[in-house]
């Protein structure tokens, strides 16, 4: 037998999952029609793997739900749901739309004898159409069969419910408040379920539901002939399942669920092309350096999507400022710049000081020697060995490198989804967006964007609710861009600088966003190695004309915030903004995001101000969830692009902020060791 034969049969065996994140390691999560871990309608004590994100659509005659779930921590998951409830008041009556939030917490794990136990809240704030609470236990009696038993309140306590007295009904005020008064109140009832995993593709489920659908049966829209639901799950491929169920002996239900985990990136190191290798020093002396070397360096950097902004040569040290427009990770960009310098700089230049820039501000400095780069290029601990940080150096002794292309532009289609009216489904607007950017200096930039809708003129949307006593700072949005003519979404001049150590500033002037123009000024204090930052922003905003061109209306206001940011070592990041909002209301916004080093962000926020809930309108106060998806996670090659989506309550006039572009925090933390550059430092040699 020749060696070729031997080779093809030989293999690398990965014994644990640490290196084989792609391999399905655990039984895939089973999701309910509510989009939560569980059976058909009833929950179980199972959780999805930490960080799993799922989206599902489920349909049956009376309920259509779009669910979005996130495993916030190993034990805690949250679900946001947008549901359509049909025949709300009996056959042939209108339905309604309903937003709801759930939480599910696994109290303890399963052992050989003890079942896993979880506690959950369904639709715990808002109008509470689906509201219930439960405590549930699940035990695997074999590796194919899960048995679940639980007790429910609210909807889940309506079949043969016992004890508990009366449960508060309906909701107070404008909805949107946490319904503490209902939790675990009223009659309770038992439910149970079996989940049989027939093979890798199919599971069969049966459950005894404790939801008697009292209202629906009472008004004649549903006839329950059985408390039993049965269903089948088909795992079409990893990350996608279909479910079919027969509910209450009367109705068919179907759902599709897609899920993925930000912790499973394929391929983990990315497929972007290799960097140039570290080159040995040539024989040239440092003093032989010339602008030809600079130009060769700039061209090599440009080939990596990196712009050389400024350079100084002092003795045997080269100090550079550059702007990376290709790599999500500033660490990866820095690694490429460092290797290019070993190739292009005279061998006599032994030390490189690299200062990544964001919006024209130098963000930090990393000092690397040729000896380090030569030693650690292919060593196991190579990235950690070259990790240092300091404040960026002074600008005075640097020679700017003129931008090769100060003017850039782009044209792309856009799609935005708009809800003017809480009872209408989403409206879509599609069209073309043209963007242009002129870099006067790296830190002084004129930029703008215009849009042309493809849909033409639009009718004025109905007013959703009676006007409030505050300026209609956001509810006026329905008047904007109705004529279908081109609109200027933003056109502003921005200046960024670093006025003092650890201090960054921004001033923006012009048409700042779709509804407002004016001037916006911001400062941020953040040391390069600090997880804590504090900032302040003040804006003078004038409302723009409805045609979204150059004119203004006669409403103007001063709005501003003091902001504090803290990034926890466990990946959670919090932000608190206190100040005066657009409508003159005073209050605070609280945000909590789980930020993954690979660029995923999933978070939630809420804003409470001195605007009374009945003035705010439906939902009582502004709140929402948001998700940012890095494009390179799916693309597999380097790009800084990402997609952000926010699912918020109806935007009203309370707690409204100016949508200024280019706020400082994200720009600054991206280039800090205590920030994204440090979080992605493993990419330095990639």
């Amino acid at each position: 037998m020749g060696p070729w034969g031997m080779k093809t049969r030989a293999s690398i065996i990965a014994v644990t999952t640490a290196l084989a994140a792609s391999a399905a390691t655990a039984q895939e999560t089973s999701y309910t029609l509510y989009g939560t871990p569980g059976n058909i309608e009833m929950p179980s004590a199972r959780s999805a793997p930490d960080a799993e994100i799922s989206a599902s659509l489920s349909f049956w005659r009376l309920q259509q739900k779009a669910n979005f779930s996130f495993q916030l921590t190993d034990r805690l998951s949250g679900t946001f749901r947008y549901g359509g409830i049909s025949e709300r008041n009996g056959p042939d009556t209108d339905g309604t739309f309903d937003r709801s939030f759930d939480l599910h917490y696994r109290v303890w794990d399963e052992t050989a004898v003890r079942p896993a136990l979880a506690i959950g809240l369904t639709d715990f704030m808002g109008t509470g159409i689906l509201s219930s609470e439960y405590i549930v236990a699940t035990k695997a009696v074999s590796n194919k069969l899960d048995v679940t038993a639980g007790i429910g309140w609210g909807r889940f306590g309506t079949r043969d419910g016992f004890g508990g007295g009366d449960r508060p009904q309906g909701y107070t005020g404008e909805g949107g408040e946490v319904s503490f008064d209902k939790f675990f109140k009223g009659p309770a009832a038992f439910f149970g379920a079996l989940d049989y995993r027939y093979n890798d593709k199919f599971s069969f489920k049966a459950e005894y539901s404790s939801d008697a659908y009292v209202r629906e049966v009472g008004n004649g829209s549903l006839t329950q002939s059985s408390p039993i639901n049965v269903g089948v799950t088909y795992r079409y491929r990893p990350g996608m399942t279909f479910d079919l169920a027969y509910l209450y002996g009367s109705d068919l239900a179907a759902s599709v669920t897609v899920f993925l985990n930000p912790n499973d990136r394929l391929p983990p190191s990315g497929k972007e092309t290799a960097p140039p290798p570290v080159s040995a020093a040539d024989a040239r002396a440092a003093a032989s350096w010339s602008t030809t070397d600079r130009d060769i360096t700039a061209r090599a950097m440009a080939a990596e999507g990196i712009t050389l902004n400024a350079l100084s040569i002092r003795g045997t040290t080269a100090r550079l400022r550059y702007t990376n427009a290709r790599f999500r990770s500033e660490a990866q960009a820095m690694g490429r710049v460092a290797r290019i310098l070993t190739n292009t700089m005279p061998g006599g230049i032994k030390t490189f000081v690299l200062e990544p820039m964001g919006a024209g501000i130098p963000l930090s400095a990393t000092t690397l020697t040729r000896a380090q780069l030569e030693t650690f290029e292919n060593r196991a601990n190579g990235a950690a060995a070259v990790r240092t940080t300091q404040e960026a150096g002074p600008t005075a002794d640097l020679t700017p490198v003129p931008a090769a292309t100060p003017f850039t532009w782009g044209i792309s289609p856009y799609l935005s989804l708009i809800v003017f009216n809480g009872n209408d489904p989403v409206q879509a607007d599609v069209g073309l967006e043209a963007m242009a950017r002129y870099e006067i200096t790296p830190s002084l930039v004129l930029s703008g964007a215009m849009r042309q809708s493809a849909l033409g003129a639009r009718d004025l949307a109905d007013e959703f609710q009676a006007p409030n006593d505050y300026p209609n700072v956001r509810t006026d949005a329905r008047f904007y861009g109705l004529d279908g003519a081109p609109t200027i979404t933003n056109l502003s001049l921005s200046h960024y600088s670093r006025p003092a150590t650890n201090l960054y500033s921004r001033v923006s002037l012009g048409y700042l966003e779709e509804m407002y123009g004016g001037v916006s000024a911001e400062v941020l204090w953040k040391p390069v190695d600090s997880n804590f930052a504090v900032g302040a922003e003040v804006n003078y905003a004038v409302q723009r004309d409805y045609d979204m061109l150059f004119g203004f209306r006669d409403f103007d206001t001063v709005t501003g915030h003091i902001s504090a940011y803290y990034s926890f070592d466990n990946g959670f990041q919090t932000q608190v903004d206190v100040g005066q909002y657009l409508a003159g209301d005073i209050g605070a916004t609280f945000s909590l995001d789980r930020t993954f080093d690979n660029g995923w962000e999933v978070g939630a926020y809420f804003t409470v101000t001195d605007m009374p809930f009945d003035q705010f309108g439906e939902g009582s106060f502004d709140k929402g969830i948001r998700i940012t998806v890095p494009t390179d996670f799916f693309l597999g090659t380097a790009t800084q692009r990402n997609s952000s989506t926010a699912l918020s309550s109806l935007t009203r006039d309370g707690g409204a902020r100016l949508n200024v572009q280019g706020r400082l925090y994200d720009i600054v933390e991206n280039g800090h060791q205590a920030g994204s550059m440090g979080d992605t430092w493993g990419r330095f040699w990639r």
């Binding site: 690398i12 960097p275 080159s279 956001r474």
Partner: protein, 210 residues
């Protein structure tokens, strides 16, 4: 107004212009852009592709990709030579031992291989290897392996130039996470051919010096 913008997803499809570089429509966009914006792509200066002369080509098969390509010498620095494929994947070999790959998807980011080359020459010995990999969260994961080198003996090997008898030496490496066997076929102290582990998903590189 509630506005949910998912512009990004759509923009990727047909976007053009210098501001839209890096999207899925990049290739299409760059074709348009080259004509319309005058943004000529600067010529990369490194890595350079030298002309093919003897000893400057490494015929390489990647078992994980089931692909074979002639790699050319991009650079030699000290005992380390970096080889580059036509698709800009690089393999770095130190004294003939694989210490890094770039551009594969699940790269070997670095390897500590002190003592391995000497053990191969000797035909016996134990040594420790450390391999490092990038994980899904951009962190470096290092794996320490304990390796045993044994001389298998003479073996007839089919090379590109024809059959040849070489000395085969195996290196069995084990850790809690990984198990693999590297093989080296030598003539004197020269590694003519080798099969070396990259990563679980990329498998091995089988490399033959031409």
């Amino acid at each position: 107004m509630r506005s949910v913008s998912i512009i990004g997803a759509i923009a990727l499809l047909t976007a053009c212009g210098p501001m839209n570089k890096g999207g899925l429509g990049n290739q299409l966009a760059s074709a348009i852009q080259a004509r319309t914006s005058g943004d000529a792509a600067p010529a990369p200066t490194a890595p350079a592709l030298p002309s093919v002369i003897a000893g400057n080509v490494l015929l390489t098969t990647l078992t994980g990709k089931d692909a074979t390509a002639p790699l050319t010498r991009a650079q030699t620095r000290g005992r380390t030579t970096t080889w580059i494929s036509p698709g800009d994947v690089t393999l770095a070999l130190e004294d003939g031992i694989l210490v890094g790959t770039r551009g594969l998807g699940n790269d070997l980011m670095g390897a500590d291989i002190a003592g391995v080359r000497a053990a191969i020459t000797r035909g016996s010995g134990s040594n420790t290897r450390v391999h490092s990999y990038l994980d899904s969260q951009d962190n470096i994961t290092s794996i320490t392996l304990t390796c045993t080198v044994t001389r298998v003996g003479p073996e007839q090997v089919t090379l590109a130039a024809g059959p040849r008898t070489l000395t085969r030496t195996d290196e069995l490496c084990k850790s809690a996470q990984l198990v693999f066997t590297n093989s080296y076929w030598t003539a004197g102290e020269n590694i003519v051919k080798s099969k070396q582990a990259i990563s679980p998903s990329e498998g091995f590189m089988i490399a033959e010096a031409l």
